[in-house]
């Protein structure tokens, strides 16, 4: 029994080896036999036909690839251009909207800011609307002022004279609003403005009207203590305001600026001015 088992194993191993060798031989021999030997010619012809069919196809992939590449580039460029165009359009729209909002805000400010309802030194009722379309230089002071108001009004007068010398510039309207309505009535204002520029308009009114005007321009004003004669000094901020033809307060000049500097600044504002309310 032991011998039979051993023999059986050996036999199986041999059969496996045989089948392996046979397979290899078959696969190797078939193509050689078909082509080289005097096999039927139609078989060889078929193979050649197959090769010839392959030949025309060879250039096709090349030309096809070229066309595809070009198409791909064009599509990419168009797509990219579309994206950039869309971005630019959205950007422009946004800028436009922001600018319109800005203009609208400026128009509101121009209409509401710094309005006044006062009497001029000839007794006529005046509001900011009367001076729209004109450049305005505006100073708050009082007629009993010791030295600063006269100095500033002389400076204001000088600025107006300097600008008047240039015919290409629009004329400037100087205004003087009192912070002391108690004493500065119409006749007092008339006497006072006479000493300065002939175009200088003095404005006064009731205490409430004057206070309102000062508040709109953020002007500080405070009456000092009265002496036995009833005289007093009014403490107040010292600023010359520039208002443009739209009624917008666009610049101010303090005590440190001289008439030449102020005139130059105003000239620049006039040259860069763009109307908010085109007629």
């Amino acid at each position: 029994m032991l011998r039979l088992r051993v023999f059986d194993r050996h036999k199986r191993l041999w059969s496996v080896l045989q089948s392996t060798i046979r397979g290899n031989n078959i696969s190797n021999h078939i193509p050689n036999t078909t082509c080289r030997s005097s096999a039927p010619p139609h078989l060889c012809a078929r193979q050649r036909a197959f090769y010839s069919q392959n030949s025309p196809k060879t250039p096709n992939p090349g030309s096809s690839a070229g066309i595809k590449l070009r198409t791909r580039l064009v599509v990419t460029l168009l797509f990219g251009g579309g994206i950039i165009g869309t971005w630019w359009y959205v950007h422009q729209e946004k800028e436009k909207r922001i600018q319109m909002q800005r203009l609208e805000q400026l128009r509101k400010v121009a209409l509401g800011q710094g309005d006044f309802h006062l009497l001029d030194h000839t007794g006529q009722r005046r509001t900011k609307r009367d001076f729209l379309g004109h450049w305005v230089l505006l100073y708050f002071g009082f007629t009993h002022c010791p030295d600063i108001c006269p100095d500033e009004l002389e400076k204001l007068t000088s600025v107006v004279h300097i600008l008047d010398k240039d015919p290409s510039l629009p004329s400037v309207q100087p205004l003087f609003i009192t912070v002391d309505p108690e004493r500065d009535d119409v006749s007092a204002m008339a006497r006072y403005v006479k000493d300065f520029h002939p175009r200088l308009v003095g404005l006064t009114g009731s205490a409430e009207e004057v206070k309102q005007a000062g508040r709109d321009f953020r002007v500080y004003a405070s009456n000092g203590p009265k002496d036995e004669d009833g005289d007093y000094i009014v403490d107040h901020s010292i600023v010359i305001y520039l208002v443009n033809p739209d009624g917008l307060f666009i610049d101010y000049y303090n005590r440190m600026k001289n008439d030449t500097q102020i005139a130059e600044s105003i000239r620049n504002h006039m040259k860069t001015f763009v109307r908010l309310f085109p007629d």
């Binding site: 007629t143 009993h144 002022c145 010791p146 030295d147 006269p150 004493r183 007092a188 006497r191 006072y192 000493d195 000092g224 002496d227 004669d229 009833g230 005289d231 007093y232 000094i233």
Partner: protein, 79 residues
């Protein structure tokens, strides 16, 4: 009482300038400048006299600070 006009203002300022010049020369000895002081008071409203006197004090104080620098008052402690 109406406000001084241009010529009245100038008269006041001129009197003030003369007084200050005298005080500068005499090192603020008021007795030496009594004539100018009277002219000053005659040409200016009373409130202006007070105002300009205060202003002169301020200008001198300002000049002192600019020249000598600021010195804190003695006794003031530093935190």
């Amino acid at each position: 009482m109406s406000a001084p006009n241009a010529s009245q203002r100038k008269a006041c300022w001129d009197a003030r300038d003369e007084l200050w010049k005298c005080l500068d020369v005499n090192k603020d000895l008021t007795s030496a400048c009594e004539k100018h002081q009277r002219e000053f008071e005659a040409n200016c409203p009373a409130q202006w006299v007070k105002y300009f006197s205060k202003r002169r004090d301020f200008l001198k104080y300002k000049e002192k600070i600019e020249k000598e620098g600021y010195e804190p008052t003695e006794g003031a402690s530093k935190l």
